[in-house]
Symmetry: C2
Subunit: 315 residues, 2 copies
Amino acid sequence: MGAPLAAPLVARLAIIGFGLIGSSIARAARRSNCAETIIACDAKPDVLARVRALGLADETTDQPEGAALGADLTILCVPVGGYGEVARRIGPHLKRGSIVSDVGSVKSSVATSVGPHIPAGVHLVPAHPVAGTEQSGPDAGFASLFLHRWCIVTPPDDADPQAVERVAAFWRALGSNVETMGAAHHDLVLAITSHLPHLIAYNIVGTAADLEDTLRAEVIKFSAGGFRDFTRIAASDPTMWRDVFLYNKDAVLEMLGRFNEDLSALQRMIRRGDGDGLFDLFTRTRAIRMGIVAVGQETAAPDFGRAREDGAAGG
Amino acid sequence: MGAPLAAPLVARLAIIGFGLIGSSIARAARRSNCAETIIACDAKPDVLARVRALGLADETTDQPEGAALGADLTILCVPVGGYGEVARRIGPHLKRGSIVSDVGSVKSSVATSVGPHIPAGVHLVPAHPVAGTEQSGPDAGFASLFLHRWCIVTPPDDADPQAVERVAAFWRALGSNVETMGAAHHDLVLAITSHLPHLIAYNIVGTAADLEDTLRAEVIKFSAGGFRDFTRIAASDPTMWRDVFLYNKDAVLEMLGRFNEDLSALQRMIRRGDGDGLFDLFTRTRAIRMGIVAVGQETAAPDFGRAREDGAAGG
């Protein structure tokens, strides 16, 4: 978390969609004093009731139009599939000189879904905080979610540099490390670091769910390190992930194609008993792991990141 | 860990192969006082030097014959592919009435690789402690590795019940929950809970390793929750895992076949933009997760099991 600011960076901050990410932004913004007034907007009455009970915002509304009205920074935190509708509704109410941003895991589609609804004089600066948990809803959020995590800002080519810098400063104030790249490139990188792993995890857990009853019960009972980690990933929000795969289709299918080719080769090695081939692959993959530890994205601590006394199982 | 025993359960305990698992057994056996004398056997001089430096055993040797001579319980902790050779060497030296066990992740193959070398009057009782980390070697072991983890014992149909009970009691003394099942069934259950997840993790990290240099560097830099967890799994011991896939080939190929069918269906949903199909699958997989949490194999704590302040990334 950055040092608290002398004067808030944003006078009126509208957060549209108040789940895990939206509520974490509100908590982090309050903790770092980077927003004077926080407006929470969500379509669900029970979510707004929780926001009021938890005291997470200064104002609450179920109308995006009202939330965006007069806001200096409006952040879309709904699933990517809901962007078009929200943008259509807020567009006419956006203040000249204000900024619209988002937190979606897919960035190329923002230009087409949100772009057309942004009036002249308003800045669209998409962003993606690469942070989250497998839980959902306003109660699941926490102020340190973005701390030391990447936030990737993907401004369009003609973006106003000052607006881009304000979004970057906002995320730095929330504790993130900010990086800027093109939207299409972001989508390709995330397809392999995040989207494909989630797809595979959903798939393997789905395969287990379809097993015969007795076998499935034992799979649950003896759930070991690998599978258990996959079930955690596959417990992520279904709506958000449905939209990720619908809106990052091309990059995901590209990476899935490569994955499938490699898996066929691996299957063939097993069928033919090619021990040398298996050993070579299993040795090569260690280098990637060492790279990740080296750049500080992970510790080298053993046991799948869990404390030893309740340690993860392997084997 | 069970309460320390009044008299050691095993007078002479020979551990052949002194890596993560073998050294953890020695540590746990000493802590629970369930072995009077511990003999460490490993082919590598540097491993034996570490064992002596760490004081993990009472005797050390690089000769399996000598380790097994006079032992009451001999546990094979080498990769599954090395079983036949070790069994051939120790067979003639095994004490009548003693027990030979192992810790391998594959159980059906033990009967054929070890079985023929076991003389009459010696009991073969295979076992599989479902515990481990992605690290290797005697320094990576720790006494609580087996605590509250399953140990699956897979006695042959004609096994001596008393010998089976002694192996079960040994693992309970090390803190494990013991379950008995047939070897073939074990191999099928583990194929989906452990072997297939490892295969998939190795594969996806392999796919990333083959990316163009620039893209690969960014994948490492922005490594998010899903992928980072996969790299951890894919950092496991290459020799052990090569042998798992060679010796549990049939069950792994069976589960991989089902996985591939499901993945094709999922790929098709993405290509066709079938949002309802994706949402249904992503909702169904949550039930398996809830089952695992319900049987106590995992906590419901968020953030991929990591502490929040250095929390795992998602999205």
